[in-house]
Symmetry: C2
Subunit: 693 residues, 2 copies
């Protein structure tokens, strides 16, 4: 079946062609009034400038790691590390970067167009924003297919590595570059967007009492730039990494399970079939001109679910054709259903149409402290659903696909993650459309468009929050499954090098590794949170200074100095993103050098388990705080400006780094730790303290 992998290129061509078409659709709309164009241009400029700086900083770190890998690979004659890995590290990083960059490009071009289209009708606004999201969604999956296919043919046909096991073990290391880039993009972008948001809110909303996105707020452009570099570019890089990571992890497990090329082809086929089904689903996202918000949501859901159902149907013959095991098909279904289920519960815990968020809003009656306690406990409770769903998916996939065979069961877990992400093209489109709608609202406000338009963009934005919940469900769920698959791959690779390990959980080395993994999760979260705080405080100081020193800002007669806030956010994000990113590389290596490969396995277990719970907790707490505030703003508990609203704003501010910086970064952390461990396994086997005992 090794000759069937050209199908990956077909997936790439289809996805990119569809993205191109959607891009044309977006660009066909007008950018609106001169003022709107000017604002959009400022946002675009700020976002471009930030990404340029970010990529420069990241390039330096990549260069250092590349050289280290190069030395490891060539000094050991390929013994310690394949000679291809340093280069794969670079390409993975570049594709991941590109996925985010293209998404950001189109989003910064679509925001004013969405505002303009929304001034004509709600439906048109939706179309522009959704098309923009589609560009990113399909670019991500297209580039993913391209990367995998190129490396496959390079290694298999150009360099003649025809042993499936060897090929898979080299390819699984390719994930490291993408994960590393994604971590920088998520953390850096997350710090940027939340520093701007928190800074703007703390002074603008809380102290000065002016509305969100008010043009008098000096941090407002930075805030809108942040949506693009964090929620768009960060998310693109992140999901590129998830997508490729899940496919590569199942490559590695296929060899061990004895499926060889057939088991490697299956995830590629599922991905391509997912691309086709996502495109079909997209065509079903149509609404009438007089659409209400509910009918818009229904239309988005129709598209997404249709894609998932079609994928589920087509996956059956594909599975039978490749691995000939219906249990594997059950695993794929587990992934698809599990992703939808996590999405549902994410929505349940974070949407103000359900009790939990409504109760959280009610807790604002006794002040901000109870809002905080309430949100923390809501987030912690919400881990139950996600963890039980993932647990069920793991157990069912394992037993269905394995049927007694251990390795085949593990392949089932890997393929479940692929199933979960197969329709990423369309789920990511619905997710990426949110920040565009959010930005459109900001532009409408700043450009002084009629209230009616702002109401429409608000409706689009709030719809985005709902669909984003589903998107997050897929991202978090697949991250945990992929992390487990990578953990197993690590064990296989280490044992393949002739190193035997006692992986029993009663082995103190494993136990200590578990502790270190939990610690890494907490420290990483702490670093990312305090990074936001440090950066936000500099914005607070600057906004206060401008309000005080620049006369006429509050009267609206003088423009504030937007550029200084944009500059501060850029500086802050770049300065603060490096430490947490390095943590993710250094801790696994250091653990390995001290505790040996066995300790690393413990670490991977600890970081996967604690990281998953923490990611769900932080994302859901943050989402619920945000929506509880919006619920109050919509007129409950005294509405805007009431003491309850003030209390809820505190919750929302705490939730910002939770849901947009720390939480989503944890998804990447758990996979990056695994790929780093895999790449450095040769080094760790050769040099570790435990081997001296």
């Amino acid at each position: 079946m090794e000759n069937m992998f050209w199908i990956g290129f077909v997936g790439f061509v289809l996805a990119i062609a569809f993205a191109w078409m959607q891009k044309g659709r977006v660009m066909g709309y007008s950018e609106g009034t001169e003022k709107m164009q000017k604002i959009a241009a400022s946002i675009r400029e700020g976002a471009n400038a930030y990404l340029k700086h970010q990529y420069t900083t990241v390039a330096k770190v990549f260069a250092v790691v590349f050289v280290i890998l190069l030395i490891m690979a060539f000094a050991s004659g390929g013994e310690m590390l394949s000679k291809f890995t340093p280069f794969a590290f670079l390409t993975g990083g570049i594709w991941s970067m590109l996925a985010g960059f293209i998404g950001m490009k189109i989003a910064t071009n679509a925001n004013a167009r969405t505002a303009q289209a929304a001034s004509e009708s709600l439906n048109k606004g939706l179309r522009v924003a959704f098309s923009s999201g589609s560009v990113m969604g399909f670019t991500v999956v297209g580039l993913g297919m391209l990367d995998i296919s190129i490396w496959f043919f390079l290694l298999h046909s150009a360099f003649g590595i025809t042993d499936a096991n060897q090929l898979a073990n080299i390819m699984v290391m390719n994930g490291m570059g993408a994960s590393f880039m994604a971590l920088f993009a998520r953390v850096g972008g997350g710090i940027y967007t939340k520093a701007a948001d928190v800074g703007a809110d703390l002074v603008g909303k809380v102290e000065a009492g002016i509305p969100e996105d008010d043009p008098r707020n000096p941090a407002t452009i930075a805030d809108n730039v942040g949506d693009n570099v964090g929620d768009v570019a960060g998310m693109g890089a992140d999901l590129y990494e998830s997508y490729v990571g899940s496919i590569l992890a199942s490559f590695a497990l296929s060899a061990v399970a004895g499926y060889g090329y057939a088991g490697m082809l299956l995830p590629v086929l599922i991905a391509v079939c997912g691309i086709v089904c996502s495109i079909i689903g997209s065509f079903f996202i149509k609404t009438k001109e007089d659409a209400t918000q509910m009918s818009l949501l229904k239309s988005l859901r129709t598209g997404t679910y249709l894609a998932a159902i079609l994928s589920a149907i087509v996956a059956a013959p594909l599975t039978y054709y490749t691995v000939g095991n219906w249990g594997v098909y059950v695993a794929i279904l587990c992934g698809l259903v599990g992703g939808c289920a996590i999405g549902y519960f994410t929505e349940y815990y974070t949407s103000d149409t359900y009790k939990p968020t409504q109760n959280l809003a009610a807790s604002s009656e006794t002040g901000s402290a109870t809002v905080i306690i309430g949100g923390l406990s809501l987030g912690m409770k919400s881990t139950v659903a996600s963890i039980l769903i993932v647990a069920a998916a793991v157990i069912i996939s394992f037993f269905a696909a394995g049927g007694g065979d251990f390795s085949a069961g593990l392949y089932g877990i890997g393929i479940a993650a692929v199933g979960m992400l197969s329709t990423l093209g369309i789920t990511l489109a619905t997710d990426a459309y949110g920040p565009v709608a959010d930005n459109a609202g900001g532009i409408a406000e700043m450009a002084g468009l009629p209230e009616e338009v702002r109401n429409r963009t608000d409706a689009l934005d709030s719809l985005g929050n709902t669909t984003a919940a589903t998107g997050k469900g897929f991202a978090i769920g697949s991250a945990s499954l992929t992390a487990l698959a990578l953990l197993v791959s690590y064990v296989n690779i280490v044992e393949g090098k002739g190193f035997t390990m006692d992986l029993s959980i009663t082995n103190p080395t494993v136990l200590v590794g578990l502790f270190v993994g939990a610690m890494l999760t907490f420290v990483f979260s702490a670093f990312t949170m305090s990074a936001v705080q440090t950066a936000a405080q500099s914005i607070v100081v600057e906004v206060r200074r401008q309000f005080k020193e620049i006369a006429g800002i509050m009267e609206g007669t003088t423009d504030p100095d937007y550029a200084s806030c944009v500059g501060l956010c850029t500086q802050g994000a770049l300065h603060e993103m490096v430490a947490p990113a390095l943590l993710a590389i250094i801790v696994p290596i250091l653990t390995g050098l001290i505790l040996g490969p066995t300790g690393v396995v413990g670490l991977l277990g600890g970081v996967s388990v604690t990281g998953f719970a923490m990611a769900v907790f932080m994302s859901n707490a943050g989402g619920a705080w945000d929506n509880a505030k919006k619920y109050i703003e919509s007129g409950h508990h005294g509405g805007k400006g009431s003491p309850c609203h003030k209390a809820a704003v505190v919750g929302d501010t705490v939730g910002d780094p939770f849901k947009d910086t720390s939480g989503p970064s944890l998804n990447i952390l758990i996979k990056l730790c695994s790929t780093v461990s895999i790449v450095f396994s040769g080094l760790i086997i050769s040099f570790n303290l435990m081997s001296l005992l």
Copy 2:
């Protein structure tokens, strides 16, 4: 060596005699003015009434579990469960309850006496409060020795169970009753104390702007009652459980390591030697009449460290005499040093004499949201020190005591926990003295004693916060070590029943267990936090009602209705404590019934690791918020009543359930899960879904 266990009774007699002596010392002081006596009587009454209700509720739950155990034991003819276990479950619960009850009794008698003594001199105040703490400290260790010795002789001599392995495996199950009682006491008391505290603060301090412990606040008596039922009775039951648990866990590991009775005698000898050394240390706690706060601290530290050093010296010949392995001695030292080190770092992260808490106070300049983010990230960062210390203790103990032998190494981990808790008599005395000083301050304020007295009680209180940090270090550190020892005992017991397990971390059943363990930690924390919130909200409503409806409260002409708040706290705590406590029993059993014993091992690993990190995070974040607020109150960042102070009060309020309810309860949770799993292992082996596959 099985004839040497009478030494346990010697430990009991010495400890109780010393406690009795200290009690006499406390009761020799006057309770002060009539008003002070009246207030003290109200607090005593409230505390007694609560505990009576609490014990009634707990008794019902105990009765149900007792009957279940009885059925399991007798219906299976002792196959599924030893016939002694149901009775040991009861006695464990009773001793644990008694430890807390006696501590509470003396504390409620010592509070007014401390206030009165402090009106004479700082030194006298310290003596009364410390003597009261000693009563509890030595009662806990004395009762622990009694329980272990009685059961040893009952089983060994009366029932003729002379096989060390069999004896140890029966005795390790005795921990369950103590843990279960401790969980109720910690959770119930923790909810009570924090509901009262949060409720009193939110309305009194924040809304009405009256000082803490102001007699006009209707919740002030409830607040003082809370200190006794939560921080004293809860802590006593908790540490009784830790103490006995660590000794019993090393009993169980001794048999497997091949040390037999010698390895069981060692922890008893260390405990008795610790009692003697603690008594000697206590005599060195002397100060001059003109003592400053620093010299008081020095004197307390002299006593504590002296006891630890003496213990360390005497442990050497004891170890050599019993197990003849110097590596085991290294493990004991690891425990002692590790406990002190965690205590030091706890202080570093939570005391306002160090940077972290000072920076946290500074973050109040930008409002309450940044105080919350700052505290959360401080707490998360602080996990590094504790986890690395425990990790080092585990690895060093294991390799030193084992020297290549796996089981002997595990015994090292168990004995390290015993070493850590050996001087519990004196460390708990310094810990339990805090709430007494706190109460004394409350009484001084309510009785209108001169400001000078209040300043002295404040000094005593603040000293208590520092020493409590050390106490917490020992409690948290020993909990994690004991939990690991119990996890290993569980595995040994299950495998001893002829059930083989694949405990590899790559086994999906283990992995899913790990996930469930992490989930349990998050859900348990959520339950305990939201319990505090629910109970606190009822207090808020009641206090607001009284301020509004009872004329003359604010003018001080009419007394508020203290009893109604006491009643509401009692109701709230009793109502809310049952669910989280049951969670700790039901989740392990349910996990076992679905995933089998292998899944339970994963669960225990997950809850130990995530629970430990979470406990450290919550305790330290809460402590830092508390002290950051006090730092501001002492005149920094605008002092009392400033916007910074208001922001810091929000942090303190969020921190209350963190540090006094959820955090400390997690220490018990991780051990209770283990003992529940051990007790129900027979049931789980016989009935589980996995065995059907």
